[in-house]
């Protein structure tokens, strides 16, 4: 019955948002089995056949799983590839991480203060206790698990433990199973034919334990520890050591094992093994009176004792890999001392999942889907206490290289409609337990068929259980109406200003080049509209002849002059369209009209294409000043008014919502040399899932950089992938809920985003709130499913699943803090706030508080001392102040007079924060500075330098990579050979800033251009290269982005940290 509903609906209603979204996307209410008219608005979502009537044809023809007509870079042999790709994820790289944390150690060693971790912090101890009482089942068995040969009794620890247990846990597969079966009472998974290679032990071992040296350290306990090596070295040297020699890490880590004191006589029952004893303390611990025999001593060192005991359990399976890391990760760095934070790099956190899920070793690509915390706090109190933002960043339609695409019966949870994914539980071969709603489902018979090996019986081989990101080719059940042709509609500003800045030449050139590359099938439709004080229609009637040019000047009451020919099939009218595009620049050459009525044009354009849906591209060079949606120049007054950031009228928003209802997206290219009220105009894109491109001071002759930028962006814009009629639903585990969405789309429901178009260059952010205690759950899952119509006219579902462990450990939360996701989330939140209420100061305060809160919470947790600002060496928290400072100094939020003058640029920056993918935001906030004058002397790519002018030598050439531009800064003292090699000029004075740097045949130039290409390949949008001489008036472009330096009205980094310190101390 449910299957009929979507077919009936189109006749009943216009294809507005409601019917579309309902029909296309299932609700969480398992509607398939309910009947009756009440459900017609809640989707009559067709039931996926689950248990009985399976289409057997599907699994009799496994080769047809991948259709032959795929054009995007797909992985056709995905099934085989799945097997081979997994091992690369097996060995956790976390064991290498602690090396980089050593430089932080010396300051503490020198200060010889009592270690902060041991400062009997009440916060810490409470959090540990709460974790002990929590229902995280892998932890509980420690005191009661039967497999322990020596359950921890009070008298155990009184004996010298080292000789007693000469064995240490060997990294063998059996250990992995042991740990897996330990909590088996929660998930009866013993019958699953697990693949031993997938259950590799490293993921169950704490990094420090997995190395052979550990065993020697245990068998010879009387050896004196070797703590002096790492601690006595000067910081700089240490850092180099640790960064370059990975072997030294093992040395130090084993020595730290050695440094464990003998267990005290207290014999504490380890309430919780997940404590994170600070390994940086080992040398000092060693000299302490071991064993705090008194109760006071016990109070001081509970963590240490527990840790010790835990390590000495023979064959003790570390219950959760992720807790084991705590011992390596709990080092910290004093932000007031450490200057070269960038040297640590911005690594992604490793996600260690419990082994109970089907495939714990695969993780979703962090560039696609990531959470601000790689381990989710178990309780609300914990989240409140750590004061970190919780949110997701999602790049749903990113261009992916190894995307596996399947056409198969789509298996979904019958209760919550979750798609089957690698993180479900398979209690046996007949059932699967949904990882979102935790209810059990039947596994369809055909799911046991492995199309790659043509064997039957093992469901774990299916690609659905191997890829966290997978794309299904959906059947007609997922369609509300037949896939519509791709439709591209262009609205061109042809007012005198547009003619003056000459963008039409670039437009027509690029469109002509790419006309045959426009994504779409044979039915592809195209149409044009030109706008000045009137609306110019172009009606294509004859494939051989140019279009009729119809002009409507009644813009207040705009109408469509005739009923056909404005949007025509490109295949049929190719000649005509081509010659028309060629003639566009000349057609309006003599236009003297200075006004623009784009509001009327968008209104009428969306009515023209409402039946089909598609994409409207608006080119705008001036403020629309007449007709509906006319705007006033609000930036003319001297004093900046906060209201100017806020939209002036809701006209564009209303049109955008209408467009969304008709599956039309509006993209906006602003090529202005003045104020166009971007905050108001951009609403047309914001709520119709479009994107905004801003090219300030565009002029075809005077601004080559912007012309180049527009040319490349428009090229990519025309040829990139596109999806139509899309909806994105994000499901999350119980206890969590989605709070606020940031990005360009229309929020259709609490978890459903309507996007008329999706493109690979847009990302979204979601704030998440923790509503319930997560005790009892092993993992937290987020699943984003994007249902869209590809340009080839098939309906597809791209499913991303993110699975994260849950932690109740305070320090783990900080160690697993994800800098990139957090910075992107904070940037989105701050932009949202500024754009909604106009108060930039409000946003800045919010950003500042985010840093103060996070660092303050961490410093309180490790036991605060005055005069230091501590941050864990692992995880991204140590870089947070730097990035917050970058945000505060970014032109979006900067209070400098220059930023205030250019209102549109500020708003463009905010809009970019809301919509851009992670990598662009990260570079915009904290640009990457490289020295390139000696780039040919090293094999590897140049290192990022701290963003301070003191790193800029007078004889160097520096490359500053911001998200939108790449600056090449040439100092006056640079050697002439270098100039000769790179720019073909003999000395600095001859250097021309407008020069286009070409690749020349010499190693330096080769290296530079290779490097530039590498940088370019890491982002979606082209960033032009701007050459800046040291004595140039443009120099500010470069120096303003050196965020660690003081500027006219902003702190330097040191001052900022000191300010944070004061705030934290308060």
């Amino acid at each position: 019955m449910g299957g009929n509903l979507p077919n009936q609906q189109p006749q009943l209603k216009p294809p507005d948002i409601q019917s579309t979204a309902n029909g296309h996307f299932p609700s969480g209410n398992a509607p398939s089995y309910s009947n009756g008219p009440t459900n017609s608005s809640i989707p009559g979502f067709p039931p996926t056949p689950f248990n009985s009537n399976l289409p057997n044809a599907q699994y009799n023809q496994p080769p047809s799983l991948v259709p032959p007509n795929l054009t995007q870079p797909t992985n056709l042999g995905s099934y085989n590839q799945a097997q081979s790709s997994t091992p690369s994820n097996l060995v956790p790289t976390a064991s290498l991480k602690p090396t980089s944390s050593f430089p932080s150690q010396p300051p503490y060693q020198q200060s010889s203060q009592p270690n902060p971790t041991f400062a009997a912090n009440p916060n810490l101890s409470t959090s540990f206790n709460s974790s002990a009482s929590s229902a995280f089942s892998p932890l509980k068995p420690i005191s009661s698990a039967p497999q322990f040969p020596q359950p921890a009794k009070p008298n155990v620890a009184q004996q010298p433990n080292f000789p007693q247990q000469p064995q240490i846990p060997q990294p063998t597969p059996s250990l992995g199973y042991a740990s897996m079966n330990g909590p088996a009472n929660t998930v009866p998974n013993s019958s699953i034919p697990y693949n031993p290679p997938q259950m590799t032990t490293p993921s169950f071992q704490p990094p420090g334990l997995s190395n052979v040296p550990v065993s020697s350290s245990f068998t010879q306990p009387q050896l004196p520890p070797v703590p002096s090596m790492p601690t006595s070295a000067p910081p700089q040297q240490l850092q180099q050591n640790s960064l370059t020699q990975s072997s030294s890490m093992y040395q130090t880590s084993s020595s730290s094992m050695n440094g464990f004191p003998a267990p005290g006589p207290m014999g504490t029952i380890p309430t919780s093994p997940n404590l994170a004893p600070a390994p940086q303390n080992f040398p000092t611990q060693q000299r302490r009176p071991v064993a705090g025999a008194t109760s006071a001593g016990y109070m001081q060192q509970p963590q240490q004792l527990q840790q010790t005991q835990q390590l000495q359990q023979p064959g003790y399976p570390v219950p959760n890999p992720y807790y084991g890391q705590g011992q390596e990760q709990n080092r910290y760095v004093d932000l007031r001392q450490e200057r070269n934070l960038i040297g640590y790099g911005v690594d992604d956190n490793e996600i260690n999942l419990p082994s109970t899920v089907v495939n714990p070793n695969v993780n979703v690509n962090p560039a696609v889907f990531r959470c601000t915390m790689s381990a989710v706090p178990q309780t609300q109190e914990l989240l409140k206490k750590c004061r970190l933002p919780l949110g997701l960043t999602l790049h749903p339609f990113k261009d992916l290289k190894n995307l596996s695409i399947v056409q198969t019966n789509i298996v979904r949870c019958r209760y919550c409609r979750t798609y089957i994914n690698p993180y479900v539980y398979l209690p046996d071969n007949r059932h699967w337990k949904c990882n979102i709603c935790l209810r059990s489902n039947d596994l369809p018979d055909e799911f046991c068929w492995d199309p790659a090996t043509k064997s039957y019986g093992d469901p774990t081989r299916r690609p659905e259980l191997h890829h966290p990101t997978i794309e299904y080719i959906a059947s007609s059940e997922y369609m509300l109406r037949p896939p519509q042709p791709a439709l591209y509609f262009f609205i061109l500003d042809v007012s005198s200003n547009a003619i003056e800045n000459g963008y039409l030449h670039t437009f027509s050139e690029q469109l002509l080049i790419n006309l045959d590359q426009l994504p779409g099938d044979d039915r592809l439709l195209i149409g044009f509209l030109a706008v000045d004080a009137m609306v110019h229609y172009f009606q294509f009637t004859d494939p051989k002849r140019p279009p009729k040019h119809l002009i409507v000047d009644d813009i207040e009451d705009i109408f469509i002059p005739t009923n056909s020919g404005f949007c025509v099939e490109l295949a049929h009218f190719r000649e005509s369209v081509r010659s028309f595009i060629q003639n566009i620049p000349t057609l309006f050459e003599a236009n003297a009209s200075t006004s623009n009525c784009v509001g009327a044009a968008i209104d009428v354009a969306h009515k023209l294409i409402a039946e089909v849906g598609g994409r409207i591209t608006v080119f705008q060079t001036v403020l629309p000043d007449i007709g509906p949606g006319a705007l006033k120049n609000r930036a003319s007054s001297e004093k900046p008014d906060p209201k100017n950031l806020v939209t002036a009228t809701d006209f564009y928003k209303r049109i955008a919502l209408e467009c969304t209802g008709h599956q039309v997206a509006v993209d906006l290219f602003v090529l202005s040399n003045g104020y166009v009220d971007l905050s108001t105009l951009s609403e047309i894109s914001k709520f119709s899932a479009g994107s905004v491109y801003h090219y300030p001071n565009y002029h075809i002759n005077r601004g080559q950089v912007q012309v180049k930028r527009f040319q490349r962006h428009f090229n990519r814009y025309l040829t990139r992938k596109i999806g139509f009629e899309a909806v994105l639903r994000i499901r999350c585990s119980r206890g969590l809920s989605l709070h606020t969405f940031h990005g360009n789309f229309f929020v259709r429901s609490t978890d459903l985003l309507a996007m008329a178009n999706v493109n690979p260059d847009s990302a979204i952010g979601v704030q998440v709130q923790l509503e319930d205690n997560l005790a009892g759950q092993h993992t937290v899952c987020f699943q984003a499913a994007l249902l869209y119509t590809s340009s080839k006219g098939d309906r597809r579902i791209r499913v991303h699943t993110l699975c994260l462990p849950i932690t109740s450990d305070f320090s783990t939360i900080f160690n697993q803090f994800d800098l990139k996701a957090s910075v992107s989330m904070l940037a989105k939140m701050a932009s949202e706030r500024a754009l909604s209420n106009g108060e930039i100061a409000d946003s800045k305060e919010g950003l500042l508080n985010a840093a103060i809160d996070a660092l303050g919470a961490y410093n309180r947790s490790v036991g605060q001392r005055s005069g230091v600002v501590l941050a864990p060496t692992s995880g991204g928290l140590k870089m947070l102040p730097l990035y917050i400072l970058g945000l505060l100094k970014h032109r979006a939020f900067s209070s400098s007079s220059q930023a205030q003058k250019r209102l549109d640029e500020r708003i463009a920056a905010m809009l970019q924060f809301k919509n851009a993918p992670l990598e662009v935001i990260m570079l915009e906030v904290h640009p990457a500075l490289y020295a390139i004058h000696n780039i040919d002397q090293f094999e590897e790519s140049p290192q990022r330098l701290p963003l301070s002018y003191e790193r800029v030598n007078r004889d160097g050439i520096y490359l500053l990579d911001t998200g939108n531009y790449v600056y090449l800064y040439i100092c006056s003292g640079v050697r002439s050979e270098i100039l000769q090699q790179l720019f073909d000029v003999s000395h600095f004075g001859q250097l021309d800033e407008d020069t286009v740097i070409e690749q020349r045949t010499n190693p330096l130039s080769d290296r530079l251009h290779n490097f530039l290409r590498t940088l370019q390949s890491q982002r979606g949008l082209f960033a032009p290269i701007i050459v800046i001489r040291e004595d140039s008036p443009q120099r500010d472009l470069f120096t303003m982005r050196l965020i660690e330096d003081r500027t006219e009205n902003a702190h330097s980094y040191i001052e900022f940290i000191n300010h944070l310190n004061q705030e934290i101390q308060r």
């Binding site: 507005d16 948002i17 409601q18 979204a21 309902n22 609700s27 608005s41 809640i42 989707p43 806020v646 939209t647 002036a648 009228t649 809701d650 006209f651 928003k653 209303r654 919502l657 209802g661 709520f687 809920s737 989605l738 709070h739 606020t740 969405f741 229309f746 929020v747 259709r748 429901s749 609490t750 459903l752 704030q767 709130q769 909604s836």
Partner: protein
Amino acid sequence: MFAPDEFFLRAAQQAAEEEEENFADFSPAPPFRMAFTFAAFAYLIALIAVAFCIFFAIYLVICIDELKTDYKNPIEQCRSLNQLVLPEYVIQFVCFVLFVFSFQIFSIVWNAPLLAYHVYRYMNRPVMSGPGIYDPTTIMNADQLSKSAKEGWVKLGFYLISFFYYLYALIYTLVTA
């Protein structure tokens, strides 16, 4: 012959006068005649008006709940909600004005904060051309949604209390004035 007539007339007159006096003694006739004061009128109107407001508040709560749980389209939901915002505010304002004119101090004090809130809320509404305060693009934010739901419940409580108070005050005015 004349005398008895005169007597009778006098007696009748006397009786009538007595009767009149008695009547005056026994029942408070003048209050009943002047019973329907302006204050009572105000309360009567307010009673009816607040019944409407109760309906609006219930409708708001239901709509917000539908947005939260069902998959109602926020555009349509906001449209129907926005139609009721100004009527509610106007009704509340009219009641307030009536109370001001009838010098009902307690009712004025009781209604003033809500009136102020209404003015504040409408001043700070999102930029929109039509009447109303609900913006379909932001209503789905969890904090907006919970704020609106909370507002609905609080208003419902407020109007219910108002309703019973007005009822009491109406009777009280009728009885005591």
